[in-house]
């Protein structure tokens, strides 16, 4: 009987994610808030996932562990670290073999990834010098409305029409939003405008890697239903929903790498 355990750990800027697999299936997954120390984030996420697997007691019991994400190099107990680009591609492809284009909206960057038919990365662009359109951007915008992320998405969902917010820079966007609020514009319409501006940013990145069906969205912001809906409208294409939590796709990809390397 196989007693192999493979783990992937995605140390992001706002959350840490872990996935544990055996040779057959996914056994556990966990998401934790990021700590200042990436190593601690990774440990917390892994321990939380391990708690769901009876046979696993210690990190050392892991057959093979792959780290990914922004803090991946700071995970000393990982056997290998792999970039989140490869992991998101592999994770999404593992779940759905028809995926050809991915947009990943993380806490501090957005990535557009296109895949070959065999799942390898074909092209890749990353928006990493600016917070516009990232999870951090949504957080900042939500704060302006004094609501959390879920509420913010719901608020935008209620809008009858959108008021466009064009500033690319999140700092300027914030002041633009404040003046729109001050002008007594309905908050839900401004909120929708913000969602549209992020969706347009995703669109640009996706265009740069080439838009091929089937498209999916990963990362924490993929849970934002209004964003997904808006992006669908802008792309004029459907967006495939993955059968697992889109936020753990990176960690899942890492776990699949671990499985391949640890065998």
């Amino acid at each position: 009987m196989s007693k192999n355990f493979y783990a992937g750990c995605d140390v992001g800027s706002t959350t840490g994610k872990a996935v544990i697999m055996n040779d057959k299936k996914i056994l556990a997954m966990a998401i934790v808030e990021s700590e200042i120390d990436p190593e601690l984030t990774a440990r917390n996420a892994l321990l939380k996932a391990m708690a769901q697997v009876r046979e696993l007691n210690r990190l050392e019991d892991m057959t093979y562990l792959v780290g990914t994400g922004y803090g991946r190099t700071e995970v000393p107990f990982a056997h290998k670290n792999v970039s989140e680009i490869s992991c998101h591609a592999l994770g999404a492809y593992f779940i759905d073999k028809k995926i050809r284009t991915i947009v990943d909206i993380g806490g501090q960057d957005i990535k557009g990834i296109s895949l070959h038919d065999n799942g390898t990365v074909k092209e890749f662009v990353m928006n990493d010098k600016c917070a516009a359109g990232t999870g951090k951007f949504f957080e900042a915008m939500g704060r302006t409305f004094k609501v959390d992320l879920t509420e913010f998405s719901k608020l935008a969902g209620k809008a009858k029409k959108s008021i466009s917010v064009t500033s690319q820079c999140s700092v300027f966007a914030e002041s633009e939003v404040i003046s729109l609020i001050a002008k007594k514009n309905p908050p839900e319409n401004i909120a929708l405008g913000i969602h549209e501006s992020v969706a347009k940013r995703c669109y640009t990145l996706l265009k740069r890697v080439g838009l091929n069906q089937r498209i999916t969205i990963t990362g924490g912001c993929a849970k934002n239903k209004t964003l997904v809906k808006t992006l669908k409208q802008i792309l004029k294409m459907d967006i495939a929903e993955l059968s697992v939590d889109p936020q753990i796709i990176g960690a899942l990809g890492a776990a699949v790498f671990a499985k391949q390397n640890g065998k």
Partner: protein, 481 residues
Amino acid sequence: MDIRKNIRNKTSYIFTVTKIYLSVALILLKRGPFLLIDLWRYPWLFNFLKLYKLYKIMNFRKGHFKDGSVCTLNGIAILITNYIYDMLKNPDKLVLAEDIIPPEIIRAMGLTPFSPEILAIVLTIITPDAMEKYIDICENSGIPGDLCSLPKCAMGMALGNVLPKPKAIVASNLPCDAGMMSYVTIEKHMDVPIIRLDVPYNFRSDRAITYFSEELARMIHFLEEHTDGKMDWQELKNILKERNKTQETELELWDLAKTKPTPVASEMIYLSHLVTFNIFPGDKRSTEIFRKLIEFGKKNLEEGKGAIENETYRILLWNPPFAHFPMAFSWAETKHQAVLIMDSMTFNTIDYVDTATNESMIKGLADIIMQGPMSRHVRGPSENYFNDIFYIHNHFKIDMIWVADNIGCKMSAGLNEILREKCRERNIPVLVISYDLMDQRFTSSEDIKTCIDNFMETIMTGNLETGLFDTDAKHMISTER
């Protein structure tokens, strides 16, 4: 074994560095006690004296490639020391010439050229943070931060009063709008006579050569009027004849780089060109540097060796190399077995200058200036850019293109997407590295490394080593602003 090797490496480093410092000192000490005043007036001289840092490149190199690298660095160190020395010694003959204005005519007139842009690049290569202070002075004075940092350095040094006051300034509309506009600020601050040369957008025509030849004639006239310089056509002929020789030698070096694995690489190609053709064109010492480099290359060739062991990837670097991260290439050689073959700043050589008549010399020079570094590619329609890229790709058997996407260079960034689409059609991997030419605070060397690592892992080698997929397709990746 390792310890012995280590000691050997350290000894050779110390020996090389000591030798070069002695040579540099011999030149600078000719200033006598004035050197102290120079150091006080031009504090960036201290940055220059940190030359030893650059020599760390040799620690990554072996065999004839190491010798070639040291030879390049030595050549550069001596040429630049002389350049600075001339600047300090000849205040009465000093002409501030924007980096794109080649010094041939100025020297033939018995004048001393110096360029704040070239100083800025050289100083940043030696000490990555050398220019931060001047960039800050520039931006704090109300100059927009989104301009290319090279003209920001030039303006900052002028506003910071750390440049000698020249007798005249020669500027131009090259290489970009920011470079052109920076001389409004510099002129106003320095308050010296200035002439601005106008290079046409479509520079590849006889009409353009005629137009720009007239501009050069205007420049000679201006310098004769505002300085003690006098055009010595025989001297110009000597300079240009030697320049032709240097160019011939350089082309021989490039021929070596066509071989796979390449016996010559990296600084031997790009730094040697940068310094010789921009600072001392038409100087015997420049030709001599290339001759020596060819010798080292030929030795490698005879022994059937490449510059690096296991050459796996050949790089074409587009746009200026990362001035604040000169170690990028030696790092890429060790980490990824990727070797720099050619770059856009080097690839601007054109026909030899016809030295038969005064007119033919001016025409030849006009052609050279119009196709100077940067201008050849960022000016004019984008065909100038793409034709060279794909020619080099083919000619030098390039595996991947790295675009050094200097945040202030809007001219080249405006072509990134078209480049990506054209490379997609041709199945050429391209990496766009967002950075700031002169300012490491925007993208640090660590960030540049991560960006390259991601590309190499994901696209060039990545999925293959996991054994998951059975493809050998080449792909693309890039990071964006």
